[in-house]
C-alpha cells in the first residue's frame, strides 16, 4: 500500500484488484445458482393458481385434502394449512419409495410456511394462493413437514410427516 500524492482519480492498485475479485466472485455465485436452477431443476415456486380462501374448502380439490395416486409412481397431495387447531390437513401421507409427489398447498386463514425436512421443498403458504412443488422420495423413512411462518399461539405444534415405505 502506497500513499497517493496529487494524482487525480487515484485508486490503490490493491483496492483495484480487490474490486475485480469481488465482482468475479459475485458473478460466479450468480452463474452457479442459475445453472443449479435451470440445468439441475432446483427451482423456487412460481405462480400456479389463485383461490378464494373463504370458499376454497367448500368445493374443488381442496374440499378433500389428501393424497391421490396418479399411477406410474406419480402422486399429488392437496393440503390445507389452518390456524384453527394449527394443523396441516392431511397430517400424514404414505407413499412407496421412488414416488414423485406433487404438493398443492393453500391456507384458509393466515399465512403459513411449509418445509419438508431433508428435501429442497420450502414454500410460503398464503391464503388466496396455491403453492406447488414436487419431490421424488428416493429413500425410505420419515420426512416431517413443519410450519415455518408464525401463525398464532399454536404455531409450534403445526407439523406432519410423509412416510416413505
Amino acid at each position: 500500500m502506497t500513499t497517493p500524492t496529487t494524482h487525480d482519480h487515484w485508486i490503490d492498485p490493491y483496492e483495484k484488484a480487490w474490486m475485480v475479485i469481488s465482482v468475479v466472485v459475485l458473478i460466479g455465485i450468480m452463474i452457479a445458482v442459475t445453472v443449479a436452477g435451470f440445468a439441475f431443476g432446483i427451482q423456487a415456486p412460481s405462480p400456479y393458481q389463485r383461490v378464494d380462501p373463504n370458499t376454497v374448502t367448500q368445493s374443488g380439490p381442496f374440499s378433500k385434502p389428501g393424497l391421490t395416486d396418479l399411477g406410474g409412481g406419480q402422486y399429488e397431495v392437496y393440503m390445507i394449512g389452518t390456524a384453527s387447531g394449527w394443523i396441516w390437513e392431511p397430517k400424514e401421507i404414505r407413499v412407496p419409495v421412488g414416488s414423485r409427489v406433487t404438493f398443492y398447498l393453500t391456507s384458509k386463514d393466515v399465512q403459513h410456511g411449509f418445509m419438508l425436512w431433508n428435501t429442497n421443498l420450502n414454500m410460503m403458504v398464503l391464503p388466496g394462493q396455491v403453492s406447488k412443488g414436487s419431490v421424488t422420495f428416493e429413500k425410505p423413512g420419515e420426512y416431517p413437514y413443519v410450519c415455518h411462518e408464525y401463525c398464532g399461539i399454536g404455531h409450534q405444534t403445526m407439523s406432519g410427516k410423509v412416510i416413505v415405505e
Binding site: M1, V33, P47, L121, K132
Partner: protein, 553 residues
C-alpha cells in the same frame, strides 16, 4: 464557540432520540435471553410477568429492537453528525421537533396494543393476522416522524450547498443524508401497505386484504430497512473508527462510491425475501437475487477501506508485520473495540447474507433458525454493537459526564462478541437441521411436534450464548444508568468531541460524480421501476381483497 455549545439545540434533540432508543433496547433485549433459554428448555418468563405469551414477547423483541431502537438511534445520530460535519445548524429546527414528537406519539400508539396482547403480529405484521388499528396507525406515524427528521437534514444540506457553491459536501454529512434519502425512497412500500391496505382493513373500511400484495409491499421496505440500520454503522466505521484507532480514513472517494451504490441498489432487491412465495415468478426472483449480489459489492468496498484504514492506524501506532499491526490498535478503548468486534462479526453476517440471497440456496434456509442466527450477526451485532460503541463516546459527550466504567464497557463488548458467536452458531446449524424460525421451539420439542435429536447440543449453544448475551445486556445498562446518574462531571476540555477522521485520499482526488445526487437518485428510480414496476402493476391489476382478519393469539 466549541461545537458542543454551538449545537446545544441539536444536542437536546439527539439526546431525546438516544434516550428513547436506549429505553426501547432495554425492554426489547430483555426478551432475547428468555427466548434463547426457552429453546434450551428453561422457561424464565416469570421474569417478565406482564408478558402473556412467547409470541407477545417475540413481537416486543422484534419491534422494540429492530424498529424502534434502531430508528430512534439513527435519527438522533445522523442529525448530530450532519450539523457537526457541516458546521451548520439545522435549517428548520421546527422539523427536528415535529419529527421526534411524531415518532414518540407513534411509538406510544404502537406499543400500547402490543403490551395489551392486542397486536401479537411480530415485527413483520403479515396480514391476515390483524392487529388493533392503533398499532398500524402508530407504526405509520413513527415512520412519518422519521421522514420529517430526514426532511430536516435534506433542507440543512441544501442550505449548506447554497452557502458553499460548487463544493463537495463533507463525507459524514453526505453519508448521513444518503442514508435518509434511501430511507425516504425505501419506505414508500410500507407507507402504501399501511395507508391503502392495513389501516382501512383493520378499521373495517375494506372487508378483505390481498396477503401476497401486502407481503410484496412490506419487503419493498423490509430489505432496504437493513441498509437503513447498516449505513449509519458504516458511517461510523468510515469516518469515526479510524480516528478512534489513531489513524486516518484510507479513501474518501471510495467511501462515497460505496454509499452512492447503496442509494442505487438498496431497494430493488426485496424479492430475495420472497423466493419461496407462490405469487411471484422465478424470473423476477432471480433478477432481484442478482441485484442483491450487486449490493454486496459496496459492502466489499467497505471491508477493504476499513481494513486499509485500520492498517494505517496500526502503523501510526508503531505496529509492524503483515498482521501483527492489529495488536497495535488501541484495544483498551471500549468505544473502538465494540465497533471492531461488530465489524469482525459482520464478515460472517455478510457471507450469510450472500447465501440467503442466492436464489435456490435460499430454499435450504428460508424461515429457518438460520435466518434468525444471520440477522443477529448483522443487525444484532454489526449494527447494535456498533451503536453501543458509539454510545460509549456519545453519552459522555451529550451528558458531560464520564463513562461510568470503561472496564465494564470493554467486558460488555467482548461478552457480546463471544455470546453472539456461540448463540448464532447454534441458530445457524439448527436452521440447516430444519428448525423453523419464530417458533416457541422448547414447547415444540416437549410436545414432540417438531424435534430432532441432532438439535440437542445446538440448543445448549443457543442457551449458553443467550446467557452470555444477557450478562452483556446488563453491563450495557450498568454503564448507561451509571453514567447518567453517577458519572463524574467532566471539565469542558475533558468532554469527548465527535471523532471525525481525516482522509488520506481526499474527496477532491476522486471524480465529482461521486459527490453528486441526481445521477444516483435517477439510477435508484430507474432500477425500482424496472425491478418492481411490472410485478406491482400486475398485482394491483389482479388484486383480490378476499382475506378477512384473524387474531389467533
Amino acid at each position: 464557540m466549541p461545537a458542543r455549545e454551538k449545537f446545544a439545540f441539536e444536542r437536546k434533540i439527539t439526546s431525546v432520540h438516544i434516550g428513547f432508543a436506549m429505553f426501547a433496547l432495554f425492554l426489547g433485549t430483555l426478551y432475547g435471553p428468555l427466548q434463547a433459554l426457552e429453546h434450551a428448555g428453561v422457561n424464565l418468563y416469570f421474569l417478565a410477568p406482564w408478558t402473556q405469551t412467547y409470541y407477545q414477547g417475540l413481537t416486543l423483541h422484534g419491534v422494540l429492537n429492530a424498529l424502534i431502537f434502531t430508528t430512534f438511534f439513527i435519527c438522533g445520530f445522523l442529525t448530530y453528525v450532519t450539523v457537526n460535519s457541516l458546521d451548520r445548524h439545522t435549517r428548520f429546527p421546527i422539523l427536528d421537533i415535529v419529527g421526534v414528537v411524531l415518532m414518540i406519539i407513534g411509538l406510544v400508539m404502537a406499543a400500547i396494543p402490543i403490551l395489551l396482547n392486542m397486536a401479537t403480529v411480530l415485527y413483520t405484521f403479515y396480514p391476515p393476522l390483524m392487529a388493533h388499528p392503533t398499532f398500524y396507525i402508530g407504526a405509520t406515524l413513527f415512520v412519518v416522524g422519521s421522514w420529517v427528521v430526514g426532511y430536516s437534514l435534506f433542507f440543512t444540506l441544501y442550505a449548506w450547498y447554497q452557502e458553499h457553491p460548487n463544493q463537495r459536501a463533507p463525507l459524514p454529512a453526505f453519508m448521513a443524508v444518503i442514508t435518509m434519502a434511501m430511507w425516504q425512497i425505501a419506505t414508500l412500500g410500507l407507507a402504501i401497505e399501511e395507508l391503502a391496505l392495513l389501516i382501512p382493513w383493520s378499521l373495517g373500511l375494506i372487508s378483505g386484504i390481498d396477503p401476497q400484495l401486502a407481503r410484496t409491499l412490506f419487503w419493498y421496505t423490509g430489505h432496504p430497512l437493513v441498509y437503513f440500520w447498516l449505513l449509519p454503522a458504516y458511517l461510523s466505521w468510515y469516518v469515526m473508527v479510524p480516528k478512534l484507532a489513531g489513524g486516518k480514513l484510507f479513501s474518501d472517494p471510495m467511501a462515497r462510491l460505496s454509499f452512492v451504490l447503496f442509494l442505487v441498489l438498496s431497494t430493488p432487491v426485496g424479492f430475495h425475501h420472497q423466493i419461496t412465495d407462490p405469487g411471484i415468478s422465478v424470473g423476477w426472483k432471480l433478477f432481484h437475487g442478482a441485484l442483491t449480489l450487486g449490493v454486496a459489492f459496496p459492502s466489499l468496498l467497505t471491508a477493504y477501506n476499513l481494513w486499509a484504514s485500520l492498517h494505517i492506524a496500526g502503523r501510526m501506532n508503531g505496529g509492524k508485520g503483515a498482521l501483527t499491526w492489529i495488536l497495535s490498535l488501541p484495544w483498551g478503548k471500549p468505544e473502538l473495540t465494540a465497533q471492531l468486534l461488530a465489524a469482525i462479526i459482520f464478515i460472517f453476517g455478510g457471507i450469510g447474507g450472500v447465501i440467503n440471497a442466492s436464489y435456490n440456496v435460499n430454499l435450504v434456509v428460508h424461515n429457518t433458525a438460520w435466518v434468525s442466527g444471520h440477522f443477529h450477526l448483522t443487525v444484532g451485532s454489526a449494527v447494535a454493537l456498533t451503536f453501543v460503541g458509539i454510545v460509549y463516546w456519545l453519552l459522555p459527550h451529550l451528558t458531560g459526564r464520564a463513562l461510568f466504567s470503561r472496564h465494564i464497557a470493554l467486558a460488555q463488548a467482548w461478552t457480546w462478541f463471544f455470546g453472539m458467536i456461540i448463540f448464532s452458531r447454534g441458530m445457524h446449524l439448527m436452521g440447516l437441521l430444519g428448525a423453523p424460525r419464530r417458533t416457541e421451539l422448547g414447547a415444540s420439542i416437549k410436545s414432540a411436534a417438531m424435534t430432532n435429536p441432532d438439535w440437542n447440543v445446538l440448543l445448549l449453544m443457543v442457551g449458553l450464548g443467550g446467557t452470555i448475551l444477557f450478562i452483556s445486556y446488563i453491563l450495557i445498562y450498568v454503564n448507561v444508568i451509571g453514567t447518567i446518574f453517577f458519572g463524574r462531571k467532566l471539565a469542558p476540555n475533558e468532554i469527548p468531541t465527535i471523532p471525525f477522521a481525516d482522509a488520506v485520499t481526499h474527496a477532491e482526488q476522486g471524480p465529482m460524480l461521486l459527490s453528486q445526487w441526481k445521477p444516483w437518485l435517477a439510477g435508484a428510480a430507474f432500477l425500482i421501476v424496472v425491478s418492481y414496476g411490472p410485478v406491482l402493476i400486475e398485482m394491483v391489476r389482479t388484486i383480490e381483497l378476499t382475506s378477512p382478519g384473524f387474531k389467533p393469539w
